[in-house]
Symmetry: C2
Subunit: 212 residues, 2 copies
DNA sequence: TTCCTCATGTAAGTACGGTTCACATGAGTT
DNA sequence: AACTCATGTGAACCGTACTTACATGAGGAA
């Protein structure tokens, strides 16, 4: 092509869009963030990208496939965010955990579109192995962190690190789902979700025998 | 018409249905359980109830209103289930907690339609005060249980019981959301959700200073 | 350059659900 | 017996899902 492509992410460059697939994922992401996983339509995403309603079907078989692409990109960025938070404070495992928790809630808060596509869309994971794998990679970060943590306990009192990772994940996900998304749909709390999660971690880790 | 309505549970009694509102909630409940909160339509619920597609609008302004009615009934039954589990083992607070956890996960497992309407539908709670109130009543059961539990701690080491209730709720909800629903959409675990939650409770309560 | 080819976009069509409105029905009341 | 009003119907309009036949133009081969 001639007029070299620049940043305009909805911009047409002639008859061919040039980057429609990514533009559709972006459009869907914003629509999901605004109106929930059920509130986006292929037609509306096409409109946002400036193409005809039939164009998206060249890239996605149906709406679920587009949703799955959003979720896949979400899991990848989620894993990156968690890994960054984890390594940022690596010398101190407990501080790293608090970082992980903040990163988890921060992602849910700042990227509601991704988060909803990942966890609220009800995508059949069995039908999307790539999604399952990407989710496992994100969970792997958590798992690595709990491994390090559990290693500080004597073998006799060391719990299964997988179980600990699942507990941590569940509490973070529970707080994010119930309280952690924008003013849109949730309840008022006497403390911030971040503080709530941090306090929960501390109690839980104390219960494991760490801390104290 | 003539052939008088018989036992058919969606049964017409003539031109008028007789109980359409409840029949629509029931139909929506089953559709949600099968296909997720986004997978039900007013038209399909009307078809299941044996009425024309316009009839539901006499009872519900739009699909969201019908969804909210499902969620409302869900919260009421949820509160009942939790209260029953809590009182069943009241002498022993820890056993009661385990009962509560099993009841929580059991409800999510056995009533996926209600659970999805309550927590996955993305209903704007601000627009449905009755839902918020019903949710608070269910949470109240949890809150009462943690009050009793916290009362066993000396005042000096007693944590805010509201915070404890939120932690418990978050972990239960996290496990239910991530692992607790049918084979449909979730991951494989090395242990049952019930056992996972019970273990999490025990670690957490130990961290509070109860147990041991 | 010229032409070929194929990925990618468009237009038009079918089917269906959402929603509204004018109208029909019949249960309860008086 | 007649009135009334909640409740259900049918038809209409619009938007979206998805399909199919056709159009465009980018990149490669001659």
């Amino acid at each position: 092509m001639s007029w070299s492509g620049q940043g305009d992410h909805t911009g047409r460059r002639g008859y061919h869009h040039g980057n429609l697939r990514e533009a559709l994922i972006d459009a869907a992401l914003h629509l999901i963030a605004e109106k929930g996983p059920a509130g986006f339509t292929i037609a509306e995403a096409a409109r946002a990208a400036g193409v005809s309603p039939a164009a998206p079907y060249r890239h996605f078989r149906d709406a679920e496939a587009l949703l799955a692409a959003v979720a896949l990109r979400g899991f990848e960025r989620f894993a990156q965010a968690l890994a960054a938070a984890w390594s940022r404070a690596r010398p101190d495992p407990v501080a790293s955990f608090e970082n992980l928790g903040r990163a988890y809630l921060g992602f849910a808060r700042d990227e509601p579109g991704y988060y909803a596509a990942m966890f609220d869309a009800g995508l059949p994971l069995a039908a999307h192995p790539a999604l399952l794998a990407a989710g496992d990679r994100a969970f792997g970060v958590l798992r690595e962190a709990t491994d390090v943590l559990c290693a500080r306990l004597s073998k006799a009192e060391r719990p299964p690190s997988l179980m600990v990772a699942l507990h941590i994940w569940a509490m973070a996900h529970g707080i994010a789902s119930l309280f952690g998304r924008g003013d849109a749909a949730r309840r008022k709390l006497p403390m911030s979700p971040d503080d709530l999660l941090e306090a929960g971690f501390l109690v839980y880790l104390r219960g494991l025998g760490l801390l104290d």
